[in-house]
Every structure is written in C-alpha cells, then in structure tokens.
C-alpha cells in the first residue's frame, strides 16, 4: 500500500477532564473513502475522541491533523471548513428552530451556500424537505436523525464523524440509520462512526478500533474484528 495522507489523524493524544486522564495516547487514522468504526463500552473515551477531533476538547499533548495539516490549536469552525462535520450524540438539533434553520446552521461556516446544496439533502431525505418549515423539536426520533445528518452534510464534509447514531432509536430505525450511513459512504463521504452496537457497526465498516479505558486495545479490518474472540466476549456479548 502506498503511503497516503489520512483525512483525519490523531497522534498520541492525551486528554484530561480535570484530574482524570481520559484519552491515554490514542493513535487513530481515517483515510479518504474509508468507513471506520470506533468501538468500546461505556466511558472508554469514544465520544472524547470525536470531541478532540472536532476541537470541542483540547488535548494536553499529542496532535490532531486534518488532511495532513496540524489543527490541534484551531477552533471547531476552522476544522469544519477543512472538511469534517459532526453528527452529535442524541442528534442535538436546535429544537425551537425550524428544520430549514437547522440546515442553515449546518452551513454556518460557508459564506455562500448555493440552492443546489439544499436540494441535494432534500433529494437524499424527502422527509426533511417535507418538514422544512416545522420546528425541529416536533419531529419524530427517526426524522430528527435524518435532519441531524442533513445538517452535518450542509458543510460539504469529506469526513463525517458520527457519535452513536443508533442511540435512542428503535431496532428498525437503527437498521435504517445504518443503511443510510452506508449509502452516504458509497457516495464518497468517508466515515468515522462511534458505536456501542459493535455488530451493526462492523457489518458496514472497513476498519475498526476498539477503545478500553482511553487506550486503543485492538485495531484492524472490520471482518477480522468481527471474528475476534476477545472482542466478541467483551462487546458483542457472545
């Protein structure tokens, strides 16, 4: 394999919340076109990894690179402009604002947004188009998930960071949600998906990382991880 520049790279990242050492030397790379799953149990540092990538958490040491450029000191807005976007845990829509306004906020970092960009997400999610003038807080869980993804796509990301897309959704909706993510991936958006539902994530991912108490304990092709006895025991429950 030739040496390529990863879209996103975390190099030996250490983060703290107060005195608590959360991420302990995490190394992680996502290449263009890849679908990477980030797995692990509760409070293992999965969400902190995403927050560090987007700039909501600043590491005490180590660095974050987007497309080979060091961004450790950049604000989230600047990093989003470089081509990453987040679908946060529990979606975090702006409930008292309309769906359209939520999309406009997704495009906040861009000075000019052509109408086609809205049409693109409306084509992708006809339900979102239907509900565009409704307050986001009044939508069902599944619809909110679509709006959250649509909102993130409005910044035209090369890499989408998704935090627990299955959280709070019924099993049927989880399945639909992953089909949607898989679709987006096929359309060329690279993915880093944090997930407790390891089975589901590994069924669509190319590669995976397993975090345990702030360290990467396993990494490799998704198919291998799915077979890994240790992982099965620890996270897949069988």
């Amino acid at each position: 394999m030739t040496e390529r520049t990863p879209l996103l790279e975390l190099r030996d990242v250490n983060t703290y919340y107060g005195q608590i050492h959360i991420l302990q030397g995490v190394n992680l790379r996502v290449f263009e076109g890849e679908f990477v799953a980030l797995l692990g149990g509760n409070a293992c540092g999965k969400s902190t990894t995403l927050k560090t990538a987007v700039g909501l958490v600043t590491p005490k040491s180590g660095s974050v690179l987007i497309d080979g450029v060091e961004v450790t000191k950049e604000k989230p807005g600047e990093r989003i402009r470089r081509g990453i976007a987040v679908v946060p845990e529990n979606r975090r829509l702006f409930g008292p604002m309309t769906v359209m306004e939520n999309l406009q906020i997704g495009a906040y970092t861009r000075s000019h947004v052509p109408k086609e960009d809205y049409d693109y997400v409306f084509d992708l999610f006809p339900k979102v188009a239907e509900r565009r003038n409704q307050l986001a807080g009044t939508l069902s869980g599944g619809e909110q998930q679509m709006v959250a993804v649509a909102r993130a796509l409005m910044s035209k990301p090369k890499l989408l960071l998704m935090d627990e897309p299955s959280m709070g959704l019924s099993p049927l909706l989880v399945e639909q949600s992953f089909e949607l993510i898989d679709d987006l991936h096929r359309q060329g958006v690279s993915m880093l998906v944090v997930e407790q539902n390891a089975n589901m994530a590994l069924s669509v991912a190319d590669r995976g990382y397993v975090l345990q108490t702030g360290r990467v304990v396993l990494e490799g092709p998704a198919a291998d991880l799915a077979q890994d006895a240790e992982l099965r025991k620890a996270y897949l429950g069988r």
Partner: protein, 305 residues
C-alpha cells in the same frame, strides 16, 4: 378620556424606552443565561454620549448642523459608544469568568456597575445635565388625535424604538448572526459542533444589547429626563422588571413587558400619585416572580442535563 389618553401616550413613550433596555437584558440572558446587572450603566453612558455629542455640535441652541442631522449623530455616537463599551465590559469583566460559578460574573457585573458610575462622576463631574430639547424642537408642535396631543420628541421616541425593535427582529430571525445567537442560546456545545464561534457571537450580542441601551439613554435625555451618573440604576431595574414581566429570554416578551410597565407606571402616576410609580413597578416584578416566574411569554424553565 382626554386625560386617560394623555397618560396612555406618556406610558407608551416611556414603555418604548423600557422595552429597549429590557431587550438588552433578555438578549444577553438568552444567549448566556447571565444577568448583566451593569446594563443600566450603559444606558446612562449612552445618555452622556448623546449629551456631549449635542454640545460638541453647538447644541442645544446653536447647532452647527440641521436639527435632524444632529439628533441622528447623537443616536449614532451613543449607540456606537454604548456598543464598544459593552463589548469592552464583556471582554474584561465577564469572559474571564464564563466558566466559573454562576455567582462570579454576577458579582463582577455589580463591580462594573459601580465602576461605570464612578467613571462617569470622575470624567463628567457631578453636575446634572439636561438636553434642553425645547431649544431645538418646538415641543408645542406635533400631532393631535382628538384632544390628545403628541409632541415631536414623543413621536420620535416611539417611532425610533419601534424601528430599532423591527431591526432587531429582522436581525435575530433573518440573518446568519441571528441564527447563531439563537443556536448558542439553545445549545452551546451543539452550536460549537456546527462551527459557530461562541465568543464572536457573544461579542455581537453585547454590542447589540449595549447599543440599544445607548439609544434608550438618548431617548430619555430627549424626553427631558435629567442625565447624571445614577440615572442607570432605576432605569436598569425597570428594564429588568420589564424583561422578567414579559419572560426573560423572550424578545417579544421584553417588548411587551416594556410597554406594559410604561403604561402601568403612567396610569399610576396620573391617577394615584407619582411617588407610587416606582413602588408599583417593583410590586409588579415581585408579583410576577411569585405567580408566574417565567413571565408572560417566557418558556417554562427546563432543567439542563
């Protein structure tokens, strides 16, 4: 009926001023859940900025420019000066405390309030200033509705206040900055994850809120209220009462609260006794807090997780 009408006009005029002050409290509270207790002092500073602009231009008696231009410049200087001062206060007195306990910035705001009062005393002296509006506007002109007369300053204040409110409404609901302000108000972390720069949004919020306070200061000066370093204390409390009455954090609430408070005060002044006006204003504040803490248009408080 005529007397009632006149009191009503007085109430609407003062209500416009209160509403502009209340909007500042509500904007800052909405975005940061922080009560800017020094807000009244920005109104006071605005009144002084307007006064000194007027005298610099040769007013009140011998204005070097047409009266309309002079008044326009007074508003621009007071709003711009107020905005800059508000931004400086945020930068040096509040931002360093944003991640500390809720009480710390509140105490800091009390300090800012005392600081600005004493700065005004030091810079401008203890002499009470009057705009002496009658020198450049014929207060006996104006329009009459039936036998109720509305003089030109009253019309100007009401129209000016309504224009500023309309501008604010458009800004908050129709612009990128307005969306960012609302997004930060709803969920700060989610706003950051969408690339919104919270510091920048907060700076603009303070600039707009303080600019409105500056405009309100000039308006009260034009209405012949005396200008001194303590004028912001009561006006600030009234604006705060109006914001709470309407529902703090709600923009239409602040407008409604301002006008309701102004009208109530004017009717009390006209029919009972002028000395009761302040008493009634704060009685309303206490009653609202007891009976309907969220105010008329406020959302019920939802505990943040």
């Amino acid at each position: 009926m005529e007397y009632f009408g006149e009191q009503l006009v007085n109430g609407v005029v003062m209500g416009g001023v209160y509403a502009l002050i209340a909007l500042g409290y509500t904007l800052i509270y909405g975005v940061l859940q922080f009560l800017n207790l020094a807000h009244g002092e920005l109104y006071m500073m605005g009144a002084f900025f307007g006064f000194f602009t007027m005298t610099a231009l040769g007013g009140p008696s011998a204005s070097a420019v047409p009266v309309a231009v002079m008044i326009g410049i007074m508003f621009i200087v007071a709003m711009g000066g107020g905005a800059l001062l508000g931004v400086a206060v945020e930068r040096f007195a509040y931002r360093p405390l944003r991640n500390s306990s809720r009480l710390a910035p509140l105490i800091s705001a009390l300090g800012v309030s005392l600081f600005l009062q004493n700065a005004a005393l030091l810079l401008f002296g203890a002499r009470v200033r009057l705009y002496d509006t009658g020198q450049f506007i014929d207060l006996r002109s104006g329009i009459s509705i039936g036998r109720i007369r509305i003089d030109p300053t009253e019309m100007m204040v009401v129209i000016g206040a309504l224009l500023l409110m309309a501008g604010l409404w458009l800004m908050v609901n129709r612009t990128r900055l307005g969306r960012a302000m609302r997004a930060v108000a709803v969920d700060q972390d989610a706003a950051v994850m969408n690339g919104i720069d919270v510091d920048r949004t907060v700076v603009w919020t303070f600039a707009i809120a303080s600019g409105l306070a500056g405009a309100a200061g000039v308006m009260s000066g034009l209405l012949l209220y005396p200008v001194d370093q303590y004028m912001g204390v009561f006006a600030g409390l009234k604006g705060f009462s109006a914001a709470v009455l309407g529902g703090i954090g709600s923009i239409p609430g602040a407008m409604l609260g301002g006008f309701l408070l102004g009208i109530t005060e004017a009717l009390v002044t006209g029919y009972l006794n002028p000395t009761y006006a302040d008493f009634i204003a704060f009685l309303i504040l206490i009653l609202v807090l007891l009976i309907r803490p969220r105010g008329i248009l406020g959302r019920p408080a939802i505990a943040k997780v």
